[in-house]
């Protein structure tokens, strides 16, 4: 039998691709039942009208993460109180894609959207990493010279994006993965800060709307 804690541990590693934060941290996991198969995971979002594409990615990623746990045979994801809950739950339930879920409204799967938001997240993560470094040193640094959780988070995301994340690679890259030139550092820092302001601001609003929406109810 699988422990609830293991399921939550798996969900901890699933991020809202738009906000670059964990579903568990955000409070989007409403409940987990792991005492029998299928393992049930209930998800909830800050509004009834949250964008269906990101909602789908979270539901599908949650399913994949829990299914990968040893001993888990089947997983049922139940997105709740959302205007496309029916479409998303049905598609994710049988491992179908986004186009299957929305045949009339989608022209493709969500890979491009995911990549776009990974690039934004990389800028924001690099911006946080830069905060403790001298601006004139940034362009010359190698990734191997950086340690700590923020640096690891950048490495992880670069690997996911197919950007060189080895120790000799430049420590900081543009959203497209090109090495940062010294002349572009001030602009880069400004842009990174803008993007992280945006992401963190959105995440803050999502948390507080979720709290308002489900006042009194406690997340898993």
């Amino acid at each position: 039998m699988t422990a609830v804690a293991d399921v939550l541990g798996a969900l901890e590693r699933v991020r809202d691709p738009e906000l670059d934060q964990s579903l568990v941290e955000l409070g989007f996991v409403a409940g987990v039942e792991a005492d029998r198969e299928p393992v049930r995971v209930r998800l909830r979002l800050p509004t009834y009208f949250c964008a269906p594409n990101f909602a789908f990615l979270m539901a599908a990623d949650a399913r994949a993460a829990v299914e990968a746990l040893p001993g888990v045979e089947s997983v049922q994801i139940e997105l709740e109180d959302h205007f496309t809950a029916g479409e998303i739950n049905a598609a994710v339930g049988c491992g179908a894609g986004f186009v299957d879920a929305f045949p009339d409204h989608a022209s493709d799967e969500l890979d491009e959207l995911r990549t776009l938001f990974r690039r934004k997240a990389l800028m924001a993560r690099q911006g946080r990493l830069c905060a403790s470094l001298a601006a004139d040193a940034i362009a010359a640094l190698r990734l191997g010279e950086l340690a700590g959780a923020d640096a690891d988070r950048c490495r992880e995301l670069r690997a996911e994006l197919g950007i060189d994340s080895g120790p000799d690679a430049p420590a900081f890259v543009t959203a497209q993965g090109a090495a940062l030139r010294a002349a572009d550092v001030p602009r880069f820092l400004r842009l990174a800060r803008l993007i992280s302001t945006s992401l963190e601001g959105n995440a803050g609003l999502c948390r507080s709307l979720l709290k308002t929406r489900y006042e009194g109810e406690v997340a898993a």
Binding site: T47, C50, H105, L116, A175, L194, G201, N202, L205
Partner: protein, 343 residues
């Protein structure tokens, strides 16, 4: 007009609604929509300004006039229609509904229209008629509006171009753009404002006001606004953070001042989601927190005056009493405004 410490501020509320979300005028989507609006309202308002849900569904004309003009310091309010007929069969907040109420209060409201390019040729005729009836100076576009099977449109669509041409011809020069959670195709980011960039380049003589400063895509908005001199930022939805999360508000307005400058940002309450009284009072008292000033600078009283009303007055040719004007000898250029290649 709002007066503080001997200074008078002319106030234009750039984004207001007179909506009908009563149960008899909504389906399940409409119910979800107004519930979401209500959560925004009660989440971000000071407690004493939170209404009960029944009043929120349908407030009265008297409420609106009282909240905006009697206690809210607003000199002129711009009504932005949002039709949403797929959610609210009689219309959530149409041009006609707005105009009927505005007619009772001469000189107080500016009534904007709307169009939907998916209506094709017939829609162009409707826009002409709307303009003839209401003498429009602006339109509000909601790209996430559902229409039959369609879940939205973009300003870059071929079908939208004749509408902008018609706006130009009719002198409807202010195009307010509001993004929502759906779009066609649904796999794209519905909040992306790249289509505004496209339209603003193609129609340099129209003004494009991106509502909610592009939230949740502040970065995309700032980016396109640096490229296009005719792109503006409306602060509806961004304003109330001044109360709940003043640091975030400071970041947003600081970034806007940096990237696009003091002449292209506009105050709005998004009434009745929030009320102008407390927003105006808090804004005039607001300053970028000291520990953020080295990065974001400060905001001056002249900049506040432009933001609260003078910038919108320019766009809508509203007469402003001389004592509330700001001398504009030194033109401030936004530091971020030189075009550079994308990151």
């Amino acid at each position: 007009m709002y007066e503080k410490d001997g200074r008078k501020y002319f106030v234009v509320d750039g984004h207001t609604h007179f909506w009908d979300a009563r149960p008899e005028n909504r389906n399940k989507w409409g119910e979800g929509f107004i519930a979401c609006f209500y959560d925004y309202h009660r989440n971000l308002s000071p407690e004493e300004y939170v209404w009960d849900k029944d009043k929120y569904d349908r407030y009265s004309e008297e409420d609106m006039v009282h909240d905006l003009f009697e206690i809210g310091y607003v000199d002129k309010a711009i009504m932005q229609p949002t039709y949403l007929k797929e959610f609210f069969p009689g219309g959530f907040n149409t041009t006609e509904q707005d105009a009927a109420m505005a007619a009772n209060h001469p000189g107080k409201f500016i009534v904007n229209g709307s169009f939907d390019p998916r209506a094709g040729e017939a829609g162009l005729d409707e826009l002409r008629e709307l303009h003839e009836t209401y003498d429009l100076k602006g339109v509000k576009l909601y790209t996430a509006e559902w229409r039959g099977e369609s879940r939205g449109w973009t300003l870059a669509d071929d079908a939208a171009q004749p509408y902008f041409e018609l706006c130009l011809e009719l002198g409807i020069k202010n195009i307010h753009v509001h993004k929502g959670p759906t779009i066609w195709p649904l796999n794209r980011d519905a909040f992306d404002v790249a289509d505004v960039d496209h339209a603003a380049s193609a129609f340099p003589d129209l003004n494009f006001i991106v509502e909610h400063i592009g939230l949740p895509r502040l970065e995309d908005f700032c980016w396109i606004a640096t490229q296009e001199p005719n792109v503006y930022g409306g602060f509806a939805v961004a304003m109330p953070f001044i109360h709940t999360r003043p640091k975030y508000f400071a970041q947003m307005i600081g970034e806007c001042l940096y990237w696009i400058g003091e002449d292209r940002i506009l105050f709005a309450s998004d009434y009745a989601i929030w009320q102008p009284k407390w927003l105006v009072e808090m804004f005039v008292d607001f300053q970028i927190p000291e520990d953020m000033q080295s990065e974001l600078g400060t905001i001056s009283d002249d900049q506040k005056a432009k933001f609260l009303g003078l910038n919108a007055a320019q766009l809508y040719d509203i007469e402003v009493p001389a004592e509330m004007q700001v001398s504009t000898e030194e033109e401030e250029i936004a530091i971020g405004s030189e075009p550079v290649s994308a990151a």
